[in-house]
Symmetry: C2
DNA sequence: TTACGGCCTGAGAGCGCTCCAACAAGGGTA
DNA sequence: TACCCTTGTTGGAGCGCTCTCAGGCCGTAA
């Protein structure tokens, strides 16, 4: 290991024959430095391979140019084929990279996790904190906001004290579009596989289902799931047992829809002839299921990008941040409905 | 925003009626502090809501307790249904979390990305750098190592100057197991869909294919892919055109195997009756394909965990780090072969 | 020639923390 | 009683950087 001593500002200054302050000015791109001196400094920087020490810099500037993204701990345990968090990470990552900020990934959810994240943020390790998907009435966003740390959520937080800006997608609109397709194509016994009710996404999609069906004068039939494929299988079986004659099912996630497809096949039902299936997400894999899945596309990566952009504005001190941004959803019609 | 002034060590010391040094000792868990004083300090910390300033701390300790994971930029662009990087992240994340280190995620690959990562690491923002999957002869790992920064790679680096410790999986063994199954079940015209040849994983799986078939006295038939599903479809079509009578295909990734399955179905071939298919990865989705995919399981998350563990040892100054750790692969037999 | 801005540059004071050297008490030993 | 440990505590010197402020230089106008 060539742990050669790393050069400091001081060393560069000596070599260039100027003061520390001047080097600092050059390094930070100040314009008030004479061209000849600037060049001399740049040469010294080059020759010495100087890179500013981040710790020293943030000690005085009080900012770190990195931003945390908090994932619920479940992301680490349960969903080994989940594509939601990867998409969020992709979106956030690309946007932050463009702004030359760093992404710090943290898992939270456990009590210990809470505390860790809080300490981490308060210790000034990051300039802001973004939450990817809030579970239940998570107190953490509010807690950090109260500590004066910039916070943005993906998905409307249930707890809003103080209100934290968020970006979410139009769940209700997407659900309505899906159900409308089902209804206008003549389906009358439309069941749903709901998502977890401690998450706004699960909640709003179920509410949307109830409202649209009520408006259409159709009966509701609900089974509970947790967004996973396995829960989709189980829920679909339960639904079939309750109403063997149902002719459509709306699943609140693509993975659950895939599970439903499987359970339907096992039960000898043809899709879409006997039962139409619609999902919610539009993951890549849904183009390749048998049959290809009709689903509501939600722009996950885009949500990540927007979230990151809002965070950047927040950090920059922009006074008028939208308290909420709702991204549109879109019905993608394929073969399953 | 309640940006109330954050208390410093000094403030805590004043409140507890001791010196800064003593507070520092208590906060950092030194044992040589009298119990009564320790309690008084803890009380003051509690009351003031004191959290040590990370920048100040790392300025003197020269460590940050966070570690970077570098993803190739492609991860951000191409693979929207790739499950490799999420799995690596999961593995690394869980291990680092247990060690109370933070994970900093960075994308690299572009020239600009290189420079950013290098500066970032050299600036002392992280204590070490891990690479998830090396593309071609990436100079970055060696470059950082030469700068004295702890580096670990997932996947053997092609460039080994200076040699960088890595963890990889037993590609050759997995391929041999897959092909043996094919051969002993009577397949004689076994094709392969190869991965990108600028990655060790692609290279070694193809080499393994060639060697095993040569030993068995069987002919080779190769089509090139890039690990994606789409490339699997294309490659399978090419293979079918070249040898309509092939009776088996080994794909160097699950996604390509799924593509092959699709192309085979489109061409009217039955799997496994007409053509047997084996993949490599064992992603969750491969349990649900039609038919379920026989594949070589590589322990991706485990590789992430091991990589993180090695990194932790490296940072701790452990003198004897294994220069290479090879994790076993395992053939998972399902319906496609 | 002197006076006066304007423009650059340098000196120096921190940012909040760790850690070393030095020192104050006690308690045991000769 | 004098001496030496041991245990616990303090002051202070930095870590490497930014940023304010004062001061030097020069051109221009009086």
């Amino acid at each position: 290991m060539t742990t050669r001593e790393r050069p400091t500002l001081e060393a560069v200054a000596r070599r260039a024959g100027v003061s520390r302050a001047t080097v600092s000015r050059v390094v930070n791109g100040s314009t008030t430095v004479a061209a000849t001196i600037r060049e001399a400094v740049n040469r010294a920087v080059e020759e010495l391979g100087y890179v500013p020490n981040q710790a020293a810099r943030s000690l005085v500037t009080r900012q770190t140019d990195s931003i945390a993204l908090i994932l619920p701990e479940t992301a680490n345990r349960v969903f080994s084929d989940d594509l939601f968090f990867p998409a969020i990470i992709r979106g956030v990552g690309s946007e932050l990279e463009a702004a030359d900020k760093q992404l710090v990934l943290m898992m939270a959810g456990s009590a210990a996790g809470y505390h860790r994240v809080e300490r981490y943020a308060v210790a000034g390790h990051v300039d802001g904190v973004m939450f990817a998907s809030i579970h239940g009435a998570d107190p953490l966003p509010g807690l950090l906001a109260r500590r004066g740390i910039p916070v943005i959520c993906s998905g409307r937080p249930m707890l809003a004290d103080p209100p934290v800006p968020y970006v979410d997608v139009d769940h209700a609109g997407g659900v309505a579009a899906a159900l409308d397709l089902l209804i206008t194509s003549g389906r009358r016994r439309i069941a749903t596989i709901a998502g977890p009710q401690d998450m706004v996404a699960g909640l709003e999609r179920l509410t949307g289902y109830h409202e649209t069906l009520r408006r259409a004068g159709l009966p509701s039939l609900v089974a509970a799931g947790d967004f996973t494929r396995e829960s989709g299988v189980t829920a679909m079986r339960a639904l079939l047992a309750q109403d063997p004659d149902l002719d459509a099912v709306f699943a609140a996630s693509d993975l659950m829809a895939h599970g439903a497809l499987q359970a339907l096949r096992d039960a000898g039902r043809r899709v879409p002839d006997d039962v139409a299936v619609i999902g919610f997400d539009d993951f890549e894999i849904s183009r390749y299921s048998d049959p290809p899945l009709t689903t509501v596309r939600q722009p996950i990566a885009e949500a990540g990008r927007v979230m990151a952009r809002q965070m950047l504005r927040l950090i920059a001190g922009d006074p008028d941040i939208d308290p909420a941004i709702i991204l549109p959803t879109e019905l993608i019609t394929r073969a399953s409905a």
